[in-house]
């Protein structure tokens, strides 16, 4: 049953992803509507998969990195579907759905670990996981917006203002949206890092030496902080801010990949 839901979700995500990319390249309202339909169906299948996983296989969504990553991709999809109902941003699906598909597939590859022992659980743990999950979800949107910005700006500069250029949202709209998303995501990431650090100290796992994942989390934090600070202080915006966002997101993904490889708890 779990496998059926997993395969169905994966196939629907893959179809939706292909259709959103087709929408970006060719531009056709019907393709956009079909892609959205597939994505909504994928979200339903995904919810079914998580429920089946919980009921039949007794896996809690926040139990370890695997279901957490899967839940993260679902939250990105749900957030995107909500945004689509009010904004004409279907074309951004071409950048969002590959990431969700990647998260969903990677979630099946990670090794599960034992649940966190009762004696080391604290209020910090749900706060740490919740902030990080919401942070990554927000940064996924910021990533999609930044990719669209970089492409749009490149086309405008190269004076290739045909179909693709017209299908992407306006440059300044993307820039403002990117800033707003960073402003939401950055405090979440900060809470995630601080609570993670405090919890790690409590576990006394790494002593004074920080792990690779923690190191990349800090680098991501520094990049996002720099993007925000330089925007306020030196008017850094547009392409520089978009590239900064992409670098920060890449570091955040390295952290997630680190957890997956290590099979560690979220």
């Amino acid at each position: 049953m779990v496998t059926v839901f997993f395969v169905a979700t994966g196939i629907l995500y893959a179809f939706s992803c292909a259709l959103f990319i087709a929408l970006l390249v060719r531009g056709n309202d019907r393709v956009g509507k079909t892609a959205t339909g597939f994505l909504a169906a994928a979200a339903v299948a995904h919810i079914g998969f998580l429920l089946a996983d919980y009921v039949l296989a007794d896996r809690v969504p926040f139990g370890d990195i695997r279901p957490t990553l899967s839940l993260m991709s679902l939250l990105v999809v749900l957030g995107y579907l909500v945004a689509l109902s009010t904004h004409r941003a279907a074309v951004l699906g071409a950048f969002i759905t590959p990431v969700t598909l990647l998260f969903f597939v990677l979630a099946s590859l990670g090794r599960s670990v034992e649940p966190v022992p009762h004696e080391v659980r604290s209020v910090l743990l749900p706060l740490h996981i919740g902030a990080n999950v919401l942070g990554i979800v927000t940064f996924t949107f910021a990533f999609a917006v930044a990719v669209a910005y970089v492409i749009q700006e490149h086309l405008l500069r190269k004076k290739r203002v045909g179909g693709l250029f017209k299908r992407l949202p306006a440059l300044d709209v993307l820039d403002s949206l990117g800033l707003r998303l960073l402003t939401i995501g950055f405090p979440l990431l900060t809470v995630g890092i601080v609570t993670g650090g405090l919890w790690a100290t409590r576990l006394d796992r790494g002593g004074s030496v920080i792990s690779g994942a923690q190191g990349f989390a800090l680098i991501a934090w520094v990049i996002f902080a720099a993007v925000l600070l330089l925007r306020v202080a030196a008017g850094w915006r547009g392409r520089r801010a978009a590239i900064g966002t992409l670098l920060g997101y890449a570091c955040a993904l390295v952290v997630v990949a680190g957890y997956l490889v290590r099979g560690g708890s979220a």
Binding site: Q152, L156, V161, G162, K166, A170, G235, G238
Partner: protein, 442 residues
Amino acid sequence: MAAAHELVVVGVSHHTAPLAVRERIAVNDEQVPHELRAIMTDGAAAEGMLISTCNRVELYGTATDTDQLVNRARSYLRSRAAPEAIDGFLYERRGPDAAGHAFRVVSSLDSMVVGEPQILGQMKRAFAVAEAAGAVGTVLGHCFRRAFAVAKRVRTETLVGAGAVSVSSIAVSLAQQIFGDLIGRRVLLVGAGKMGEAAVKSLAKQNARLVVLNRSPERAEELARNWSGEARPLEHLAQELVRADVVIASTMSDRFIITDEMMRSVVKARRRRPLFLIDISVPRNIDPRVEELDNTFLYDLDDLQKIAGDNLAARKREVAAAEAIVAKEAASFARWHRSLAVTPTIVALRERVRETVLAELQKTLPRMSSLSEDDRKVLEAMCEGIVNKLVHRPLTELKKGASEPEGPVIIDIARRLYGIDLSTPSIAPAQPPEDPKKEPGP
């Protein structure tokens, strides 16, 4: 045999006549109702519509005698210019070809810039004027209402109207792709010449705020007034560049008036907010190195012309699809028009059968003195029923056959079979049943 009124169009367009000819026969909007009435008073046309734009002057009309109407329309257009000046430039279309021509014109397939949207509005206005003058009846009314629907189909089902092709509309399209909404955006026009004004008008229509910089303050103020903007002296250029979102440079200067050095400090002062610069002057007014700067996008005349060329080529690629829609709709109009010819025959055929049956009834009734009033009514109702049953099949076949190319033959056979002679009354399609007051007087 009585025939439905045929549609005719006679005119000149940018395809056939140079501007010097078109401008001589152009008709002012205010004159159109008067001119239409003048053309229709001698009875040559049952319906009429006159369209006069800078690219075409066309007279549409309907008549049973199309030769007479064409001659009348030709002599009218010739009377507006020296006949020798206009002969050779006039074209005419009749029947389904005229309807197809109207569909092509309204769908902007016959325009100088294929897909331009103005022609639809112009044709709608011309149609409204003709309607108000009482010159539109069934055929012309059906033709142009259909034409407006065809234009909508062409616009939604093909990309023939997609992509901006004028400097002004390209400026708006690009500015919208950079800023989104242009309401309240600051548009700086440097140089208040005609080119600059033409380029800036579409931006001003988007409710952007216009600021005009010019060497002559009088001209700057005049232009700013026209577009609810503000005028500033040219010396304020640097500080206005800091506040602007879109800049259109269009001066006669033979050197750069917006230099790389100036823009470097401007970009810093404006904290790298995006700036869209359009240089439509020759020689150029903006140093091309400016486009290397952060969030600064510079387009010159060559860039704009290339975009216009690409968009126009894309529109032309869509023309075949649009023409297919027009051809299909024109064929459908022709079928509808052919079916009009059968209406008097249908009415006469039903009446002939009814008269025959009721005459027999009237002959018989005096011999049936015992019948009550109610019995008589029952008998009359039965006769009406017999009439309906008898004519149902022939009428259905007539209606079906009339819209086919062999329709006239079928109608003729029906008339012979039932002894119907319609040589006197006309079909008079110019009488719209919904508003008979609009029927033009002969």
